[in-house]
């Protein structure tokens, strides 16, 4: 057994993650890798299911709307409204009116995931240079081909920025799921009388890791999906990277 007590609160928290101990109020064994892995898996499951559903349903919708340049008002304002509704308020609303449980929490997270995905997909497609789309049409591509082979790849940075923003929001909000009786990593956070400060801090560390891990994974997926010819214009260059969009489409880039 490794003792990390000398690192103070953080050491105690890390020890909590790896080794079981008696609960603060006594009587129960808490913490340790077994429980933490269980909580993490529930956390990931309750986040992944609504994320997958939101991407499967609203990515195609965003692509279609963007391609046809229809429904800009809807696609943009859904995001403005979505940002204004606090996740805690949304969860509390669902709890008070529809009750607790996995389905309700997943529904709340699904609703949270929609705005960034829909808006960023729409904006990403709209930002594709129209002469590129014209050229594709001139080469005889169908609408479906243009979406799939031209607009989607060129919009990927913006689309993935939206998916990542949604993922962070969903994983973060899944932390308060224990309020709805879903046992995620939020359990030690919401029950300090049992888990103590070490449990709270340990769980917070794991939540941060899960989020950063999901974010890193999505970056890898984005990289894998980006055609080699487009990879040069990847992240971390200031040139025209729109991660967070609001209201109006950005001005045309000067080239």
């Amino acid at each position: 057994m490794i003792t990390l007590g000398f690192l103070g609160a953080f050491g105690d928290a890390i020890e909590f993650i790896f080794n079981e101990r008696e609960s603060v109020s006594g009587g129960v064994q808490i913490g340790g890798l077994g429980e933490m892995v269980d909580l993490s898996l529930t956390h990931i499951l309750v986040s992944a299911v609504p994320m997958a559903a939101a991407v499967l349903l609203f990515l195609p919708l965003g692509l279609t709307l963007g391609h046809k340049n229809r429904g800009e008002f809807l696609a943009i304002s859904v995001s403005n409204v979505g940002r204004a509704v606090p996740s805690l308020a949304l969860l509390a609303f669902f709890l008070a009116y529809l009750g607790i449980g996995f389905t309700n929490v997943a529904t709340v997270l699904f609703l949270l995931a929609i705005p960034p995905i829909l808006t960023n997909t729409f904006v990403g497609v709209r930002q594709v240079d129209s002469s590129v789309v014209d050229a594709a049409r001139g080469m005889g591509m169908s609408d479906l081909e243009i979406i799939r082979k031209v607009e989607l790849p060129l919009a990927l940075p913006t689309i993935f920025a939206g998916i990542r923003v949604a993922t962070v929001a969903v994983v973060a909000t899944a932390t308060i799921a224990p309020l709805a009786n879903v046992h995620t990593l939020g359990v030690p956070i919401t029950e300090p009388q049992t888990y103590g400060t070490a449990g709270q801090l340990g769980a917070a560390i794991l939540v941060a890791f899960v989020t950063l891990g999901a974010d890193g994974l999505l970056r890898l997926v984005q990289r894998a999906m980006t055609p080699p010819g487009l990879r040069l214009s990847d992240d971390n260059s200031p040139e025209g990277k729109t991660r967070l969009t609001l209201g109006t489409l950005r001005r045309e880039r000067t080239t």
Partner: protein
């Protein structure tokens, strides 16, 4: 009271005091809200305080960082990467990660919220500066403007739409995240939601106030944006 529910007398009493039965059945109770509205006033202003201070400090830092990245291009990558990590770590987790260092209270909440706003603001300010066309900069230089004049009189004014867009996103997001500040020992509307999480009237009022606050701030910033860019209004009028 529930033990007496079987007795006819108790039922009559409950019918007479309709407000109470509304609470007992956990309905949406306008009477209760009217009677108890004052309990939301302090948390509401605490929420405003958390938001204004966090976005204010966040903007000051992000603005300085953006000017630095604008002047020294090589700093853009590192600053962008660091702020992005701070943005990715959920503020709820940050509220606890900071507690061993800053203790419980509004300070912890503000530090976490500031950290969260940095990336949004930094990204938007730098995008705004980046979007200023080279032709405009060339002609400004041709007119004899120094670097400093170019920045303050040409680049920053032209970057205002993106800067304001960033402010609006950061503000509404912060209002949402500040509802979780009670986890850090801070106040705000979230604390009231959490106290009576399953009471419909409470959830609707506290949540509604948070949404209303976000809407008001959003319109306020939009108004300031209109006022600060008179040349845009002229364009729209013609």
């Amino acid at each position: 009271m529930s033990a007496l529910l079987g007795l006819p007398i108790a039922q009559v009493q409950i019918q007479e005091r309709a407000g109470d039965s509304c609470i007992a059945t956990n309905g949406f109770c306008p009477d209760w809200i009217a009677d108890n509205f004052d309990r939301y006033v302090d948390p509401f202003f605490e929420h405003v305080f958390l938001t204004v201070v966090s976005v204010g400090i966040g903007f000051a830092i992000a603005f300085s960082l953006a000017l630095l990245a604008h002047r020294l291009r090589w700093t853009f990558g590192p600053i962008s990467a660091v702020t992005q990590v701070l943005y990715t770590v959920p503020s709820l987790a940050a509220f606890f990660l900071l507690q061993p260092i800053t203790g419980r209270g509004n300070l912890t909440a503000i530090v976490a919220l500031v950290a969260y706003t940095l990336f949004i603001l930094f990204a938007n300010i730098t995008t705004g500066l980046q979007n200023v066309s080279d032709d405009v900069k060339d002609s400004a230089r041709g007119m004899g403007l120094t670097d400093r004049q170019l920045l303050w009189r040409v680049e920053l004014p032209l970057a205002l739409p993106e800067i304001f867009a960033g402010l609006r996103i950061a503000t509404t997001t912060t209002i949402g995240l500040a509802t979780l500040a009670f986890f850090a020992g801070g106040g705000g509307l979230g604390a009231v939601i959490e106290q009576q999480l399953f009471f419909k009237s409470n959830v609707v009022v506290a949540g509604g106030l948070a949404v209303a606050l976000a809407a008001v701030f959003d319109l306020l910033i939009l108004g300031i944006q209109r006022l600060s860019m008179p040349w845009r209004r002229v364009q729209l009028a013609t």
